[in-house]
Amino acid sequence: MTEVWTMAALWVGLALIATLFSIWFRIATALSEIIVGTVAQLIIGALIGSAVLGTKEPWIVFLSGTGAIVLTFLAGAELDPVVFKAKWKEASFIGVIAFLTPFLGCAFVAYKFLHWSIMASWLAGVALSTTSVAVVYAVMLEFGLNKTNFGKAVLAACFINDLGTVIALGLIFSPFTVKTLIFVLVSVVVFIALPWLTPRFFKHYGDRPSELETKYLLLFLFGMGALASWAGSEPVLPAYMIGMVLAGTVGRDHALIRRLRTLTFGLLTPFYFIRAGSFVSVPSLMAAPAAFFILFAGKMVTKTAGVYPATKACKYPEKEARYTTLLMSTGLTFGSISALFGLTHGVINQAQYSYLVAAVIASAVIPTLIANAWYLPRHLIFAQKEINLGALAEHSVEVTEPKKEERL
C-alpha cells in the first residue's frame, strides 16, 4: 500500500500546485490541471521515468473516470428546463447545426488534410464539435445578455450542441450490436423514470447525514456507465442525460449540488484533468505544430459556416449573429473528454491526442477574446426598452433582501 499512498500524495500535490496556479493567474482550475499534468509528465518522465505518475493504475483510472462522469452529470444538471421549454425550437435549430457542421467539417479536415484514419477523423469531428456552455454563460452573465431572449436561446442551443457531441461520442464508436439496443432501451426507461422517482425518493429518505442522495445518484451514474461500457459506448453519455433530466429537481437542490461539487473538485476532477494533461506530448506538438493550427482553423471555419447562417435564418441582426457564432466556437470540457476517450480506446495516437487537446484549449480562449473585443452587441446591454427584457446584467444582491442566484 505504501506505493499507492505515495502516488496519491504525488497526485494530490500536483492538484494543489495546479489550484495555486489557477488562483495566482486567474485561470480555470481544469486548464491549470491539464497544464500541470503535461509539465509534470515532461519533467518527471525525463528525470525519473514516465511510470512514476502511474496514469494506467486501475485506481487512478477509476477516480479519473468518475471525475468525468460526475462532472458531466453536474454540467447537464445546470440546464434550465423553463428556458429550454420556452426556446426549444430556436435552440434546437441553432444547436443541431452548431454541432453538425464542425462535426462533419472537422472530420473531413482531419481525413483530407491530416490523412488521419476514418475513425480518428470522426473522433476529431466529435472533439471539435463542442461548445463551452460555461464560456457562453459567463460572457452572457457579464453583460446581462443571459436575461434577454437572445441570450436564453443561445444558452439553450449550447446544451443541444453538447448533447449532440455526447450522443456522437457514445454511439459512433459503439459496435451497434444487441447490446447497443439494450443500452438504448434501458436508457430511455431510466431517463423517463428518474425525474418522477428521484424527488419522491429524496422526500422520503433524503436530507440525512448518511448522504443517501449522493449514493442514489452515484448508483445510477455508475450503473448506467457500466451498461454503456458493456455496450461499447461511453459512460459520459448517460451521465449527461441523467443530469439534464434531473435538472429541474436535483439541479435545483443547491445544498446537494454543493456537496457533489466538493467531491468532484476536491478529489475527482484533479485526477481526470491531470491525467488528461499527462498524455499530451509536447515534443509531438513542437514537431508538427501545423496539425494543431489546421484543426483549430477547421473548428473556427466550420462553426462559422454553420452557426452564422443559422442565426441569420433566425433573423438575428448582424452583430448578434457574429457574436453568437464566435461564442459557440468555444469548447473545453467535452472536447477534452472526447479526446481522452479516443486515446484510451485506441482510436487516436498520442500525437493526434496532443494536437486535439491543444486545439480544444485554443478554441476555449481565442474566440471569446475576439467576440468581446469586436462583436459585443452593446445595444442589448443599454437599450433595455428597445428589447423589453428587463434589467441590466446584474447578478444583484441587496444587503437587506438577497436574491437567489440565477441558474443556467
Binding site: I27, L31, A134, T264, L392, V397
Partner: protein, 144 residues
C-alpha cells in the same frame, strides 16, 4: 454637489478604507453610497466551476455587506450594495454610467511588478476611462 457615490468593493483593507472615506463624504453631502462587488471568473470559464464561483462569492459578499450596512447605519448613510459578475473595470464603469454616479471612490491596490504586468491595475483603468471623478484612497488614510 455630489449626489451619488460609487465604491467598488472587494473586501480588502484598501476597499474598507475607500468605504470609510465614502461614508464621510456621503454624510457631508447627504448622498447615497452604491457599493459594487465584482465576481471575476477564471479564464476560460468551465462548466460547474463557474456556478460554484458565483455561489461562493455571492455568499462571501453577502456577509461582508452585512458589516458595511451596520457601519452605514451608524453613520446615517443609505447604502445600495450589489454583486455583479464580469471584469471589474468594465462592471465598475457600466455601474457608474447606469446609476449616474458623480464620484467613484476606490481603494489603492498594491500589486507587485509581475502582478501589474500580468493582471494590470483595475484602479488605473477606471481612472483612465471613467466619465466622472475618481478618488483613490490610500490604505494608510484611515491611520492618519
Amino acid at each position: 454637489m455630489i449626489q451619488r457615490i460609487l465604491v467598488p468593493y472587494n473586501g480588502a483593507a484598501s476597499a474598507d478604507a475607500a468605504f470609510n472615506f465614502a461614508l464621510g463624504l456621503a454624510k457631508t453631502y447627504n448622498s447615497p453610497v452604491y457599493v459594487l462587488a465584482v465576481i471575476q471568473l477564471a479564464e476560460p470559464p468551465m462548466e460547474v466551476e463557474t456556478e460554484a464561483i458565483i455561489e461562493n462569492s455571492t455568499q462571501h459578499y453577502q456577509k461582508l455587506f452585512g458589516e458595511l450596512h451596520k457601519k452605514a447605519q451608524a453613520a446615517g448613510v443609505t447604502v445600495h450594495a450589489s454583486v455583479v459578475t464580469g471584469h471589474p473595470e468594465e462592471q465598475i464603469l457600466m455601474k457608474a454610467e447606469k446609476e449616474h454616479i458623480d464620484v467613484i471612490i476606490m481603494g489603492h491596490q498594491t500589486r507587485g511588478k509581475f502582478g501589474r504586468w500580468f493582471i494590470g491595475s483595475v484602479t488605473d483603468r477606471v481612472v483612465d476611462h471613467a466619465q466622472c471623478t475618481v478618488i483613490v484612497v490610500k490604505r494608510e488614510h484611515t491611520k492618519k
